[in-house]
Protein backbone atom coordinates (compact mmCIF):
# COMPACT_ATOMS: atom_id res chain seq x y z
CA UNK A 1 0.00 0.00 0.00
CA UNK A 2 2.46 2.62 -1.22
CA UNK A 3 1.61 6.22 -2.14
CA UNK A 4 1.02 5.14 -5.73
CA UNK A 5 -0.74 1.85 -4.90
CA UNK A 6 -4.23 2.87 -6.05
CA UNK A 7 -5.12 4.80 -9.15
CA UNK A 8 -7.75 7.04 -7.52
CA UNK A 9 -7.67 10.73 -6.67
CA UNK A 10 -8.45 10.15 -3.00
CA UNK A 11 -5.87 7.52 -2.06
CA UNK A 12 -2.93 9.99 -1.73
CA UNK A 13 -5.06 12.07 0.64
CA UNK A 14 -5.87 9.00 2.78
CA UNK A 15 -2.15 8.20 2.77
CA UNK A 16 -1.32 11.74 3.93
CA UNK A 17 -4.05 11.66 6.60
CA UNK A 18 -2.97 8.30 8.06
CA UNK A 19 0.82 8.59 7.73
CA UNK A 20 0.91 12.37 8.23
CA UNK A 21 -1.95 13.85 10.21
CA UNK A 22 -2.70 10.89 12.50
CA UNK A 23 0.99 10.20 13.12
CA UNK A 24 1.60 13.79 14.28
CA UNK A 25 -1.62 15.04 15.91
CA UNK A 26 -1.90 11.86 18.00
CA UNK A 27 1.23 13.03 19.85
CA UNK A 28 0.00 16.60 20.16
CA UNK A 29 -3.35 15.44 21.59
CA UNK A 30 -1.56 13.10 23.98
CA UNK A 31 0.51 16.08 25.12
CA UNK A 32 -2.65 18.04 25.98
CA UNK A 33 -4.07 14.97 27.74
CA UNK A 34 -0.96 14.41 29.82
CA UNK A 35 -0.74 18.10 30.73
CA UNK A 36 2.04 18.67 33.21
CA UNK A 37 2.52 15.01 34.17
CA UNK A 38 5.85 14.32 32.38
CA UNK A 39 9.17 15.99 33.21
CA UNK A 40 10.96 17.49 30.16
CA UNK A 41 14.30 16.01 31.22
CA UNK A 42 13.18 12.46 32.05
CA UNK A 43 15.49 9.78 30.65
CA UNK A 44 12.84 8.26 28.38
CA UNK A 45 12.33 11.63 26.67
CA UNK A 46 16.08 11.97 26.08
CA UNK A 47 15.99 8.60 24.27
CA UNK A 48 12.89 9.63 22.34
CA UNK A 49 14.55 12.85 21.20
CA UNK A 50 17.66 10.92 20.10
CA UNK A 51 15.64 8.54 17.90
CA UNK A 52 13.61 11.40 16.42
CA UNK A 53 16.79 13.38 15.70
CA UNK A 54 18.57 10.42 14.06
CA UNK A 55 15.48 9.77 11.92
CA UNK A 56 15.30 13.32 10.58
CA UNK A 57 19.09 13.27 10.09
CA UNK A 58 18.71 10.08 8.02
CA UNK A 59 16.30 11.96 5.75
CA UNK A 60 18.83 14.81 5.43
CA UNK A 61 21.52 12.29 4.49
CA UNK A 62 19.28 10.73 1.85
CA UNK A 63 18.33 14.12 0.42
CA UNK A 64 22.02 14.95 -0.01
CA UNK A 65 23.24 11.57 -1.32
CA UNK A 66 20.14 10.52 -3.31
CA UNK A 67 18.47 13.82 -4.28
CA UNK A 68 15.50 14.11 -6.60
CA UNK A 69 14.67 16.55 -9.40
CA UNK A 70 17.19 19.08 -10.64
CA UNK A 71 19.56 18.56 -7.71
CA UNK A 72 20.21 15.01 -9.00
CA UNK A 73 22.09 16.54 -11.95
CA UNK A 74 24.82 17.87 -9.68
CA UNK A 75 27.77 15.83 -8.43
CA UNK A 76 27.80 14.24 -4.98
CA UNK A 77 31.07 16.03 -4.18
CA UNK A 78 29.49 19.43 -4.91
CA UNK A 79 26.41 18.70 -2.78
CA UNK A 80 28.43 17.44 0.18
CA UNK A 81 30.86 20.35 -0.21
CA UNK A 82 28.06 22.93 -0.30
CA UNK A 83 26.33 21.51 2.77
CA UNK A 84 29.63 21.13 4.66
CA UNK A 85 30.58 24.74 3.87
CA UNK A 86 27.16 25.97 4.97
CA UNK A 87 27.36 24.00 8.19
CA UNK A 88 30.88 25.26 8.93
CA UNK A 89 29.74 28.87 8.33
CA UNK A 90 26.77 28.26 10.64
CA UNK A 91 29.11 27.06 13.43
CA UNK A 92 31.61 29.91 12.90
CA UNK A 93 28.99 32.68 12.76
CA UNK A 94 27.45 31.92 16.12
CA UNK A 95 24.86 29.45 14.93
CA UNK A 96 22.94 31.70 12.56
CA UNK A 97 20.76 29.45 10.42
CA UNK A 98 20.41 32.10 7.70
CA UNK A 99 24.20 32.35 7.30
CA UNK A 100 24.46 28.57 6.89
CA UNK A 101 21.72 28.54 4.25
CA UNK A 102 23.27 31.43 2.30
CA UNK A 103 26.80 29.97 2.23
CA UNK A 104 25.56 26.52 1.17
CA UNK A 105 23.50 28.04 -1.66
CA UNK A 106 26.38 30.24 -2.85
CA UNK A 107 28.77 27.27 -3.00
CA UNK A 108 26.21 25.10 -4.82
CA UNK A 109 25.24 27.75 -7.37
CA UNK A 110 28.87 28.72 -8.00
CA UNK A 111 29.72 25.06 -8.50
CA UNK A 112 26.89 24.60 -11.00
CA UNK A 113 27.85 27.79 -12.87
CA UNK A 114 31.49 26.69 -13.16
CA UNK A 115 30.76 23.13 -14.31
Amino acid sequence: MTFEAFDTWWWPYIFILVAGWLATDAWRFMGVYLGGRIAEDSEILVLVRCVATALVAAVIGNLIVFPSGELANTSLVLRVGAVAAGFAAYLIFRKRVLVGILVAEIVLLTGIALS
Binding site: T2, F3, P12, Y13, I14, F15, I16, V18, A19, G20, A23, T24, D25, A26, W27, R28, M30, G31, V32, G35, G36, L45, V46, L47, V48, R49, C50, V51, A52, T53, A54, L55, V56, A57, A58, V59, I60, N62, L63, I64, V65, F66, S68, G69, E70, L71, N73, T74, A82, V83, G86, F87, K95, V97, L98, G100, I101, A104, L108, L109
Partner: protein, 243 residues
Protein backbone atom coordinates in the same frame (compact mmCIF):
# COMPACT_ATOMS: atom_id res chain seq x y z
CA UNK B 1 8.34 44.64 20.68
CA UNK B 2 5.39 46.85 21.64
CA UNK B 3 2.47 44.81 22.92
CA UNK B 4 -1.15 45.91 23.40
CA UNK B 5 -2.28 47.21 26.78
CA UNK B 6 -3.52 44.50 29.16
CA UNK B 7 -7.11 45.75 28.80
CA UNK B 8 -7.02 45.40 24.99
CA UNK B 9 -9.77 43.41 23.27
CA UNK B 10 -9.37 39.73 22.26
CA UNK B 11 -9.29 40.89 18.64
CA UNK B 12 -6.27 43.08 19.34
CA UNK B 13 -4.46 40.17 21.00
CA UNK B 14 -5.34 37.83 18.13
CA UNK B 15 -3.87 40.30 15.63
CA UNK B 16 -0.84 40.85 17.83
CA UNK B 17 -0.23 37.07 17.81
CA UNK B 18 -0.59 37.03 14.03
CA UNK B 19 1.98 39.78 13.69
CA UNK B 20 4.49 37.78 15.74
CA UNK B 21 4.50 35.31 12.83
CA UNK B 22 6.28 37.94 10.72
CA UNK B 23 9.58 37.84 12.61
CA UNK B 24 13.08 36.45 12.00
CA UNK B 25 12.14 32.90 13.12
CA UNK B 26 9.06 33.19 10.91
CA UNK B 27 11.19 34.30 7.96
CA UNK B 28 13.64 31.40 8.39
CA UNK B 29 10.70 29.00 8.58
CA UNK B 30 9.21 30.34 5.37
CA UNK B 31 12.53 29.81 3.55
CA UNK B 32 12.26 26.17 4.63
CA UNK B 33 8.72 26.01 3.18
CA UNK B 34 9.99 27.41 -0.11
CA UNK B 35 12.38 24.46 -0.11
CA UNK B 36 9.62 22.05 0.85
CA UNK B 37 7.51 23.13 -2.12
CA UNK B 38 10.39 22.18 -4.41
CA UNK B 39 10.92 18.88 -2.60
CA UNK B 40 7.24 17.89 -2.80
CA UNK B 41 7.12 18.78 -6.49
CA UNK B 42 10.26 16.77 -7.25
CA UNK B 43 8.73 13.82 -5.38
CA UNK B 44 5.75 13.87 -7.74
CA UNK B 45 3.08 15.27 -5.42
CA UNK B 46 0.34 17.48 -6.88
CA UNK B 47 -0.30 21.08 -5.82
CA UNK B 48 -3.35 20.19 -3.69
CA UNK B 49 -1.67 17.19 -2.09
CA UNK B 50 1.24 19.42 -1.11
CA UNK B 51 -0.90 22.24 0.32
CA UNK B 52 -3.12 19.68 2.09
CA UNK B 53 -0.02 18.10 3.65
CA UNK B 54 1.22 21.47 4.93
CA UNK B 55 -2.15 22.12 6.60
CA UNK B 56 -2.83 18.74 8.20
CA UNK B 57 0.71 17.72 9.21
CA UNK B 58 2.23 21.17 9.78
CA UNK B 59 5.45 20.07 11.56
CA UNK B 60 8.14 20.32 8.88
CA UNK B 61 10.38 17.40 9.99
CA UNK B 62 7.30 15.13 9.89
CA UNK B 63 6.49 16.30 6.36
CA UNK B 64 10.05 15.82 5.16
CA UNK B 65 10.05 12.29 6.61
CA UNK B 66 6.66 11.66 4.96
CA UNK B 67 7.92 12.79 1.55
CA UNK B 68 11.11 10.78 2.13
CA UNK B 69 8.99 7.68 2.82
CA UNK B 70 6.92 8.33 -0.33
CA UNK B 71 10.15 8.64 -2.35
CA UNK B 72 11.45 5.37 -0.86
CA UNK B 73 8.22 3.59 -1.88
CA UNK B 74 7.27 2.79 1.74
CA UNK B 75 3.85 1.34 2.55
CA UNK B 76 1.39 3.58 4.38
CA UNK B 77 2.12 1.69 7.62
CA UNK B 78 5.91 1.98 7.41
CA UNK B 79 5.46 5.67 6.52
CA UNK B 80 3.10 6.26 9.47
CA UNK B 81 5.54 4.53 11.80
CA UNK B 82 8.49 6.62 10.59
CA UNK B 83 6.51 9.87 10.81
CA UNK B 84 5.24 8.94 14.29
CA UNK B 85 8.79 8.18 15.45
CA UNK B 86 10.01 11.52 14.10
CA UNK B 87 7.17 13.38 15.83
CA UNK B 88 7.18 12.00 19.37
CA UNK B 89 8.94 15.17 20.46
CA UNK B 90 5.71 17.08 19.72
CA UNK B 91 4.24 15.50 22.85
CA UNK B 92 6.70 16.92 25.41
CA UNK B 93 6.55 20.26 23.57
CA UNK B 94 2.78 20.39 24.04
CA UNK B 95 3.17 19.18 27.61
CA UNK B 96 5.44 22.16 28.26
CA UNK B 97 3.25 24.67 26.41
CA UNK B 98 -0.13 23.81 27.95
CA UNK B 99 0.55 25.14 31.47
CA UNK B 100 1.90 28.39 29.90
CA UNK B 101 -1.20 28.85 27.84
CA UNK B 102 -4.24 27.81 29.82
CA UNK B 103 -6.24 29.75 32.39
CA UNK B 104 -8.64 28.08 34.85
CA UNK B 105 -11.49 28.89 32.45
CA UNK B 106 -9.91 27.50 29.26
CA UNK B 107 -12.05 24.66 27.83
CA UNK B 108 -10.15 21.45 27.01
CA UNK B 109 -11.26 21.46 23.37
CA UNK B 110 -9.57 24.83 22.80
CA UNK B 111 -6.26 23.30 23.88
CA UNK B 112 -6.77 20.26 21.63
CA UNK B 113 -7.48 22.48 18.61
CA UNK B 114 -4.57 24.84 19.33
CA UNK B 115 -2.15 21.94 19.88
CA UNK B 116 -2.31 21.31 16.12
CA UNK B 117 -0.28 24.50 15.59
CA UNK B 118 2.60 23.18 17.68
CA UNK B 119 5.82 22.75 15.69
CA UNK B 120 9.32 24.01 16.42
CA UNK B 121 8.98 27.65 15.29
CA UNK B 122 5.55 28.47 16.74
CA UNK B 123 6.54 26.72 19.94
CA UNK B 124 9.76 28.68 20.34
CA UNK B 125 7.96 31.96 19.63
CA UNK B 126 5.12 31.09 22.01
CA UNK B 127 7.36 30.04 24.88
CA UNK B 128 9.20 33.33 24.44
CA UNK B 129 6.25 35.72 24.07
CA UNK B 130 3.35 34.23 26.05
CA UNK B 131 4.84 35.46 29.32
CA UNK B 132 4.08 39.03 28.23
CA UNK B 133 0.46 38.27 27.39
CA UNK B 134 -2.29 38.41 30.06
CA UNK B 135 -3.24 34.87 31.01
CA UNK B 136 -6.83 34.97 29.79
CA UNK B 137 -5.63 36.26 26.38
CA UNK B 138 -2.92 33.64 25.80
CA UNK B 139 -5.01 31.10 23.86
CA UNK B 140 -6.32 33.97 21.69
CA UNK B 141 -2.76 35.18 21.07
CA UNK B 142 -1.53 31.69 20.20
CA UNK B 143 -4.49 31.11 17.87
CA UNK B 144 -3.43 34.26 15.99
CA UNK B 145 0.23 33.24 15.90
CA UNK B 146 -0.24 29.57 15.00
CA UNK B 147 -3.12 30.17 12.58
CA UNK B 148 -1.19 32.85 10.71
CA UNK B 149 1.95 30.70 10.43
CA UNK B 150 0.00 27.72 9.07
CA UNK B 151 -2.14 29.68 6.58
CA UNK B 152 0.69 31.91 5.37
CA UNK B 153 2.96 28.92 4.74
CA UNK B 154 0.18 26.92 3.00
CA UNK B 155 -0.24 29.91 0.70
CA UNK B 156 3.52 30.36 0.21
CA UNK B 157 4.06 26.65 -0.51
CA UNK B 158 1.27 26.71 -3.10
CA UNK B 159 2.65 29.81 -4.84
CA UNK B 160 6.21 28.44 -5.00
CA UNK B 161 4.87 25.07 -6.23
CA UNK B 162 3.12 26.85 -9.12
CA UNK B 163 6.07 29.12 -9.94
CA UNK B 164 8.62 26.29 -9.79
CA UNK B 165 7.80 25.26 -13.38
CA UNK B 166 9.19 28.53 -14.67
CA UNK B 167 12.35 28.39 -12.52
CA UNK B 168 15.62 27.84 -14.42
CA UNK B 169 17.25 24.46 -13.56
CA UNK B 170 19.95 26.15 -11.47
CA UNK B 171 17.43 27.90 -9.25
CA UNK B 172 15.47 24.65 -8.88
CA UNK B 173 18.64 22.86 -7.72
CA UNK B 174 19.20 25.63 -5.17
CA UNK B 175 15.60 25.29 -4.00
CA UNK B 176 16.07 21.57 -3.39
CA UNK B 177 19.19 22.17 -1.29
CA UNK B 178 17.22 24.41 1.13
CA UNK B 179 15.60 21.54 3.03
CA UNK B 180 18.78 19.61 3.92
CA UNK B 181 20.80 22.70 4.91
CA UNK B 182 17.91 24.20 6.89
CA UNK B 183 17.43 21.02 8.90
CA UNK B 184 21.11 20.33 9.33
CA UNK B 185 21.62 23.73 10.99
CA UNK B 186 18.35 24.19 12.86
CA UNK B 187 18.32 20.63 14.18
CA UNK B 188 21.90 21.03 15.41
CA UNK B 189 20.94 24.23 17.20
CA UNK B 190 17.86 22.78 18.86
CA UNK B 191 19.51 19.60 20.19
CA UNK B 192 19.66 20.06 23.93
CA UNK B 193 22.00 17.22 24.84
CA UNK B 194 25.31 16.14 23.33
CA UNK B 195 23.54 12.87 22.59
CA UNK B 196 21.38 14.78 20.12
CA UNK B 197 24.44 15.85 18.11
CA UNK B 198 25.77 12.30 18.12
CA UNK B 199 22.36 11.03 16.97
CA UNK B 200 22.49 13.51 14.08
CA UNK B 201 25.91 12.31 12.94
CA UNK B 202 24.81 8.65 13.12
CA UNK B 203 21.55 9.31 11.31
CA UNK B 204 23.04 11.33 8.47
CA UNK B 205 25.65 8.61 7.77
CA UNK B 206 23.41 5.57 8.33
CA UNK B 207 20.46 6.90 6.30
CA UNK B 208 22.09 6.68 2.85
CA UNK B 209 23.94 3.43 3.72
CA UNK B 210 20.78 1.62 4.86
CA UNK B 211 18.92 3.07 1.87
CA UNK B 212 21.12 0.97 -0.43
CA UNK B 213 20.05 -2.27 1.28
CA UNK B 214 16.50 -1.64 2.54
CA UNK B 215 14.99 1.41 0.81
CA UNK B 216 11.47 1.00 2.27
CA UNK B 217 12.73 0.81 5.85
CA UNK B 218 15.83 3.00 5.68
CA UNK B 219 14.47 5.77 7.90
CA UNK B 220 13.18 3.43 10.60
CA UNK B 221 16.37 1.36 10.76
CA UNK B 222 18.74 4.36 10.64
CA UNK B 223 16.63 6.31 13.15
CA UNK B 224 16.30 3.48 15.65
CA UNK B 225 19.91 2.25 15.54
CA UNK B 226 21.40 5.76 15.32
CA UNK B 227 19.18 7.14 18.07
CA UNK B 228 19.53 4.25 20.51
CA UNK B 229 23.27 4.07 19.79
CA UNK B 230 23.77 7.78 20.51
CA UNK B 231 21.71 7.54 23.67
CA UNK B 232 23.65 4.46 24.89
CA UNK B 233 27.03 6.13 24.30
CA UNK B 234 25.85 9.31 26.03
CA UNK B 235 24.64 7.19 28.93
CA UNK B 236 27.85 5.16 29.25
CA UNK B 237 29.90 8.38 29.27
CA UNK B 238 27.70 10.02 31.88
CA UNK B 239 28.08 6.97 34.10
CA UNK B 240 31.87 6.98 33.74
CA UNK B 241 31.99 10.62 34.83
CA UNK B 242 29.70 9.94 37.74
CA UNK B 243 31.88 7.02 38.93
Amino acid sequence: MPSPSPEASPRTWFISGGRAAFSIPGLILSSAFVGFAGLAKAAGLTLWQTVFMVGVVWALPAKVVLVGAILSGSSVFAAAFAVALSSIRLMPMVVALVPEMRSPRTPKWTLYVLSHFVAVTSWVLAMDRLRHVPRDMRTTYYAGLGGTLVLANMFLTGIVFLLADSFPPMLMAGLLLLTPIYFLTSLWGSARERAGHLAMVFGIVLGPIVHLFAPGFDLLIAGATGGVGAWAIHHARARRWAA
